[in-house]
């Protein structure tokens, strides 16, 4: 799964992991932002038409757990995390 090149203008970095990455067919991509745009993870989930139930997904913004309704800013890294199974 190739990573698309980062756009020159303001953008988000998007990341998927494990089962979600495989179902979506990509693990990392960039999302260009218009100047005043501050989408939430929930809005991006719908815009990307990602597979599965958002209910089972946790999100991380800049590698920290965050709410689905946090407004995102240019430069942010947003990750959708399927159910965790560590340890």
């Amino acid at each position: 799964m190739a990573v698309d090149p980062a756009p020159l203008g303001p953008h988000l970095r998007l990341r998927l992991f494990a089962s979600l990455r495989e179902a979506a067919g990509w693990g990392e991509r960039h999302w260009p932002l218009a100047a005043a745009e501050a989408p939430t993870p929930r809005q991006l989930w719908q815009a990307l038409a990602l597979p599965g139930e958002l209910l089972t997904i946790r999100v991380a913004i800049n590698q920290q757990f965050a709410s689905l309704d946090t407004p995102l800013q240019a430069g942010d890294e947003l990750a959708f995390l399927p159910p965790i199974s560590g340890g």
Binding site: R15, F17, A18, S19, E22, T56, A60, Q63, Q64, F65, A79, L81, P82, P83, I84, S85, G86, G87
Partner: protein, 175 residues
């Protein structure tokens, strides 16, 4: 004291420097993600030497080792277990969970070693060790930290079976 098989997180180094400068009270944390086989007794012995080196005598030490089960969730033999993580976030979360648990229980020192990559049945996945002044805090801190890292550190397990098929696990085994 560094392990050839385990990658030391930068966050851990920084926090440890802070801990050292903050004096006796700050817990000594050592957190590693390991891409190579994890040998718990070797790691524990090294850790023990590290504690001695810092002048820490821990009257109570509680440890947990988790290993790969021989069978997949569907009961068929497991050929290997794959552990995916979120580089950067996983280390940071382990660090923050270990620090929070250590402070909550007043532990002297916490060790977390967690595998990533491909593991054979029987191989160690995780090692958690807690040194404290009394047995209650040592045991409770070890137990809580294990639950915390199972639920709040981004790891994903995939079971590979003999026929080449695999499944991502959708959660942890019950407590």
């Amino acid at each position: 004291m560094s392990s050839p098989s385990c990658r030391r997180s930068v966050v851990a180094e920084v926090s440890q420097a802070l801990a050292a400068s903050a004096g006796d009270r700050a817990p000594l944390l050592r957190i590693d993600l390991c891409a190579q086989p994890l040998l718990p007794w070797q790691q524990l012995q090294r850790w023990q030497l590290l504690l001695l080196d810092r002048g820490l005598i821990a009257p109570a030490e509680s440890q947990f080792i988790g290993r790969v089960r021989p069978l997949a969730g569907d009961g068929s033999p497991l050929t290997r277990l794959e552990l995916e993580h979120y580089p950067g976030m996983t280390e940071r979360q382990l660090q923050s969970l270990a620090h929070a648990a250590a402070v909550r229980h007043g532990a002297l020192a916490v060790l977390v070693q967690h595998r990533v990559g491909h593991l054979a049945p029987g191989e160690a996945i995780v090692l958690v060790a807690v040194a404290a002044d009394r047995r209650g805090p040592a045991q409770r801190c070890c137990q809580e930290l294990l639950e915390a890292l199972k639920h709040d550190a981004p790891f994903w397990k995939r079971e590979w079976r003999q026929d080449g098929s695999s499944d991502w696990l959708a959660g942890n085994t019950p407590l």
